[in-house]
């Protein structure tokens, strides 16, 4: 068997999205195993719930290592960052759902891979979409709302820079806690800034609060929500307030008309899943593809998987996510981002926005 570590948050602060993500990974593994595994070899997942606690992540990693894993499916920012140096020392490729820019730079994180472009790229794509659809003469005004957490801060400088480059007027920031119950002060601030667009870097609950209060207070701007802030729960929580707002996604939404959706639907017996589930699924698909390539080149070792992945060009995960390529000097999986919107209470795919693979953006 091929051993793979699965580090997930099933109980901690990010568990509401961590659980479906982990389920996606498990289902995909089961699917692969049922369909012949990697050249007949089965993948064995060793799952540990680390409850978003870095110390537990560290010891879980050591446990994985002593069990002889060849690859790791990681999760959040805290643990992925903490493991960067260990995995490069031990040569174990990691797939994580933390899309920090510097994880894309092999000179800093040689063994880190993701299936979605970094938060900055996602943000830039969103900005580009807005700019492309902007019809008025004047410059669009954009504001930023984010939690005062590492995760919220990461893409800000890059986005602000790009916004200026595109000709936006950046009006200011507001911080909104992930557990906020009320966003009136933030909306009041946004109204003062007269923002046309607001980039939101939160999670679904805080985004919902923001949108509800925006509607209540008659704020007219449109929201552009990052990958963790718009999922199927948004409409449930925010109701009509979230209609028409935009969000960025890395994977397809459940039921979207792409080739891979058949498999998903059979795997889940038609039970709708959140987009996080799909991302977990795709993340595993990419890892499996890497393993297959590594197996073709010799043995399945961490180093071989990494090398194999770096030769991956335009791998299409059956349409479940934009095509993925890795280069030895550039681990950004793609420069394409799916823009979604909420329509009639449903998350809907709008368009894939692609940016050039610009070397100066790598790691920023």
């Amino acid at each position: 068997t091929i051993k793979v570590g699965l580090l997930s948050d099933l109980t901690g602060p990010t568990s509401s999205v961590g659980t479906p993500y982990a389920q996606g990974i498990k289902d995909c593994t089961a699917y692969v195993n049922a369909n012949g595994g990697i050249n007949g070899e089965q993948i064995e997942l060793i799952q540990v719930d680390y409850a978003y606690n870095v110390q537990q992540a560290l010891s879980a990693y050591k446990r994985f290592k002593s069990k002889g894993i060849v690859a790791l499916q990681g999760w959040g920012t805290g643990d992925t960052e903490a493991l960067v140096r260990f995995v490069s020392r031990d040569k174990i490729p990691v797939f994580s759902a933390s899309y920090s820019p510097h994880l894309m730079d092999p000179s800093k994180a040689p063994y880190n891979f993701t299936i979605a472009p970094d938060y900055s790229t996602q943000g830039r794509a969103g900005l580009k979409y807005i700019k492309d659809t902007w019809t008025e003469k004047r410059a669009p005004r954009i504001a930023f709302v984010y939690p005062d957490k590492p995760y919220g801060h990461v893409p800000l400088p890059a986005m602000k820079e790009y916004a200026k480059e595109l000709g936006f007027e950046v009006t200011g920031d507001e911080t909104l806690d992930l557990k906020a119950m009320d966003a009136t002060p933030q909306i009041l601030g946004l109204k003062k800034q007269k923002a046309d667009f607001v980039w939101v870097g939160g999670t679904t609950p805080s985004t919902a609060v923001l949108m509800k209060d925006a509607e209540k207070l008659g704020f007219k701007g449109k929201f552009l929500v990052n990958i963790w802030g718009n999922d199927e729960n948004l409409a449930k929580m925010a109701g009509p307030a979230c209609e028409g707002n935009l969000g960025m996604q890395a994977a397809a939404v459940y039921g979207q008309d792409v080739p891979g959706m058949k498999i998903i639907e059979t795997e889940t017996k038609g039970q709708p899943q959140m987009t996080h589930y799909l991302r977990g699924f795709v993340s595993t698909m990419v890892m499996v593809e890497g393993m297959k390539k590594a197996a073709a080149n010799g043995k399945i070792t961490g180093e071989n998987i990494k090398n194999a992945l770096e030769t991956m060009r335009d791998y299409d995960p059956m349409g479940l996510a934009p095509a993925i390529s890795f280069y030895p000097e550039d681990h950004r999986p793609s420069m394409a981002v799916n823009v979604c919107t909420v329509k009639d209470g449903k998350l809907e795919f709008v368009q894939t926005v692609s940016l050039p693979r610009d070397a100066k953006w790598l790691g920023k």
Binding site: T11, D148, G189, K216
Partner: protein, 295 residues
Amino acid sequence: MEYYFQLIINGLVVGSIYSLVALGFVIIYKATKVVNFAQGEMVMAGAYICFALTVQYQIPFALAFLMTLAFSVILGLVIERMILRPLIGEPIISVVMVTIGLSSILKSLVQVFWGTQIRVFPPILPQEPFILLGLPIAPVYVAAFVLCLLLFAVFSLFFKYSSIGIAMRATAFDQQAAQSMGIGIKNIFALSWCIAAVVSSIGGIILGNINGINSQLGHLGLKVFPAVILGGLDSLLGAALGGLIIGVLENVCEGVARELFNLGGFKEVASFVVLVIILMVKPYGLFGTKEIERV
């Protein structure tokens, strides 16, 4: 100026939620001298029970509300009997730790029964906001404010004038002496946990109506500490006002920090900074009773 004005009003409104949770906290403290770090989790438990009854079992809200309160009474009894009674007379840190343990247990139970998904209440209260001085306010907050006032009034009178209320305070001060008065301290403890559980559940239901619930809701308990301590641990008035003050402080400090220093996220620490400053001047909070210390 209008901006700050609205920030203040909004702070008051949001603060009433803190006050509501803080009241439950102070009731327990006044009657048992237990500092309850599981207050947030008790709020969460109440919210989940109400959620289960209304959404999963489709019971009409009014009935579900009453049933939730009944469940809370049971929860309060169980917590008191199983966890806190054996700790009668132990030092404060033990009691703090046991309630921290309790919070883990409650959180775990919620996760076992309902998972970690976000759950959303059906709209129970009207959605149309009230307009107060140009600031629309969601009815949930108005409900919280009114409930908070009501509970504050009821419990102030209760602790001041009713025999049981006085007996509760006596028990908190000296359990054995209270027993010697013929006060059944076990009943007193059980009663106060029931009351606190009921108050917490009401808070939970209100919260659930704001933005749904998930298993991390208990963190609210941590935010309520500044409110409780600011007001003074054993003062109902302190809890009520403390919540409001913290609500306003958070909003205003955030606004000021943003405008003057372009410093984000100050809201989360503002209340703690102010708290420490106030404690240095008034070591027992604004209204807390000073411990009588004579040698």
